[in-house]
């Protein structure tokens, strides 16, 4: 069993604790002079707690879980990329088209046949869009389908 996971994570968290704690010491003194508990007191306590926990993890790590490799890792990266792309195109392209593309891709990559995947994305997108725009009156972006809106 590899115990590397916790060690690496512990090191990262230790770095975070140091950076966070150092950052807290740089806060300007609040107007009216120092109090017993200023803006930096609580963060300083947290930095110490986090540092202590990180050190414990570095010294006594638990056995780690294996990380996904190869194909699986790639699929997961694709999924994250799809989610980022979804956000990116949501406003310019509009909710329905963006949803068909993004949700369809996710269904497809998770194992659905492509046609059915994108069809589900389209139907899901239209249903939610109609629900939000007409029933709940919370407008979602039309995007490229804006010409439908006027007619």
């Amino acid at each position: 069993m590899l115990r590397l996971n916790d060690r690496v994570f512990g090191l990262l968290m230790l770095a975070l604790a140091v950076a966070y704690g150092w950052g807290a010491q740089q806060f300007p003194e609040p107007f009216g002079g120092g109090e017993a508990v200023g803006p930096k007191t609580f963060p300083t306590i947290l930095a110490v707690v986090l540092a202590a926990c990180s050190l414990y993890l570095i010294v006594r790590p638990d056995p780690g879980n294996p990380w996904p490799k190869g194909r699986t890792a790639l699929e997961m990266l694709i999924a994250v990329a799809v989610l980022i792309a979804y956000t990116l195109i949501l406003e310019p392209v509009g909710f329905i088209v963006a949803t068909m593309l993004a949700i369809g891709s996710l269904c497809w990559r998770m194992g659905a046949p492509p046609l059915r995947a994108y069809l589900s994305g389209l139907i899901g997108g239209i249903v939610v869009f109609a629900l939000f725009n007409y029933l709940l009156e919370l407008p979602l972006p039309w995007g490229v389908l804006a010409f439908v809106e006027g007619s």
């Binding site: 963060p43 993890l57 638990d62 994250v80 989610l83 998770m110 939000f132």
Partner: protein, 504 residues
């Protein structure tokens, strides 16, 4: 007598037609959420919060709906335990033991019906317990000062990992991370900017709703992709229901005991629904002695854990409502809901927002009846929906999460944050760092700091005030026990739960 009057007022709120409609909707959605493997109650409630928020619902309506979702999710968890042998959520694990064998013997419909009745009884007992206990605890909590509150928050974090938790250090680490995220933004009492890096989006801090949805919903999608669980599993067909009165009478004593045990373990810090259903199952096995056929499809083996976990879920509302300190992931999410409606949870809520509190409690009672009615005849509908494979379902859930977050602020930046939290949530889950303390830290952070400040102002900078009253010393002692006990008792309990979970 006050309680009764409040409760009647509460029924007035809960029975208003639109509130009743939202309760019904919540109960339906909740059962569905609970039934779908991998979409636990915390997750489900989290996705629905932004919706409740953007719909412009009044606080009591939103809270009634989400309480119904919460109660429904506990009912739903049993469906996949019985039909698929996969618990829909963690507490439903024990239901698999006798539920699945019953289904394999062609008594799936009976198992579903019996578990619905047991869930109903468990919840009912615990709700009555809640009605009796909550006002008392709230009155007691009024005597708490800032120092006691600070100790109470520490206790909440210390016991969050639960007595069965693996590594308490990881729980503390997670809580520290959450508290650190909570300090981002403008410090409320001094106006100093903290960790904003001059970014406008960070001035108001990180929105915990975004974090919750990201940590739970988006990370779930990644876990499913990793496990290649997209296709779903073979499900047992549901037979025609033939339930006799005798079958129900047989499980009544078991369900009553389960409900009481569940309620107690729900109220106590660090116990929770999983332990509630486990204790109720093993205790019942012992009480029945040689008369039981537990593990081979005994209907009482279905009733015991189900009444236990439903009792615990109502019991868990007691510390959340009275002290503002949730003891489980889902109640933490409900707390997030309250905070976003500017209702300060805690003892004062019982006087200042009595309509909300008692409306919710009444809704819990009504919700239970709705759920029982929904769950016996409509179980076929849920079974149908359960057969939708995750490869369609999880992307759709992701879409709902996106829409929910987007409709709060119409800002794509929030969506990027959500995706980032999703990836972080996946990494933390891989490292076995629990997510609930992170969320609780984000939620309670401002309160923890505020109480620390008040305590120090009162004592003029003397730190010993934090452990100077008998009450705060007691709280600290429980907190320390909460950290030390899992290390000693945890491995033994975990082993026994594991041994109990395998039919011998």
């Amino acid at each position: 007598m006050d309680t009764l009057n409040y409760l009647i007022d509460g029924f007035g709120v809960a029975l208003a037609p639109h509130n009743l409609m939202f309760a019904l909707m919540g109960a339906f959605l909740g059962t569905l959420i609970g039934a779908l493997p991998g979409l636990g109650p915390a997750n489900g409630v989290a996705i629905l919060i932004p919706l409740a928020f953007t719909l412009g619902l009044r606080p009591e309506t939103a809270l009634i709906m989400l309480t119904a979702v919460y109660a429904g999710a506990m009912y739903g968890g049993r469906i996949s335990s019985i039909l698929l042998n996969i618990p829909g959520d963690e507490p439903a694990m024990m239901t698999c033991l006798d539920g699945y064998p019953m289904a394999r013997q062609g008594r799936a419909a009976e198992a579903l019906a019996i578990s619905a009745v047991a869930s109903f009884i468990g919840s009912l007992i615990a709700t009555v317990g809640l009605i009796l206990l909550a006002p008392l605890l709230a009155r007691f909590a009024l005597t708490f000062g800032a120092a006691e509150y600070f100790a109470l928050f520490v206790l909440a974090f210390a016991t969050l990992g639960g007595i069965t938790g693996k590594n308490p250090v990881k729980t503390i680490l997670a809580a520290a991370l959450g508290l650190m995220i909570a300090t981002v933004g403008i410090d409320l009492s001094t106006g100093v900017q903290r960790f904003t890096f001059g970014t406008l989006e960070l001035y108001e801090g990180v929105d915990f709703i975004i974090a919750i949805v990201g940590l739970f919903a988006v990370s779930e999608l990644l876990v499913f992709i990793e496990e290649k669980a997209g296709a779903g599993r073979e499900m047992i067909k549901v037979n025609k229901l033939s339930l006799k009165w005798k079958d129900i009478r047989e499980i009544l004593p078991t369900s009553f005991r389960g409900g009481v045990i569940g309620f107690i373990s729900g109220v106590l810090p660090g116990a929770g629904a999983s332990l509630g259903s486990f204790i109720s199952y093993t205790l019942e096995k012992r009480i029945l002695g040689s008369k039981n056929r537990f593990g081979e499809g005994d209907s009482r083996g279905v009733a015991a854990p189900e009444s236990g976990n439903n009792g615990a879920s109502s019991g868990a509302l007691v510390p959340m409502l009275t002290l503002g300190v949730p003891g489980s992931g889902t109640t933490a999410v409900l707390l997030a809901m309250l905070i976003s409606f500017n209702i300060t949870p805690g003892p004062l809520m019982f006087t200042q927002n009595a309509d909300v509190v008692w409306g919710v409690i009444a809704a819990l009672l009504i919700g239970n009846f709705l759920l029982l009615v929904l769950n016996i005849p409509l179980v076929g509908v849920f079974v149908k929906l359960l057969s939708v494979p995750p490869m369609y379902l999880l992307p759709m859930v992701t879409m709902v999460a996106f829409v929910g977050i987007y409709s709060i602020s119409h800002s794509p930046v929030d969506l990027y944050f959500m995706v980032a939290f999703g990836v972080a949530g996946y990494v933390l889950r891989k490292l076995e760092i629990p997510l609930v303390p992170v969320i609780l830290g984000m939620l309670l952070g401002p309160e923890v700091e505020k109480n620390l400040r008040h305590a120090m102002q009162i004592s003029d900078g003397d730190w010993t005030i934090l452990w100077s009253s008998p009450l705060s010393i007691t709280l600290w002692a429980i907190a320390i026990a909460g950290l030390v006990l899992p290390v000693i008792v945890g491995p033994i309990l975990r082993r026994r739960m594991k041994a109990g979970a395998q039919p011998d």
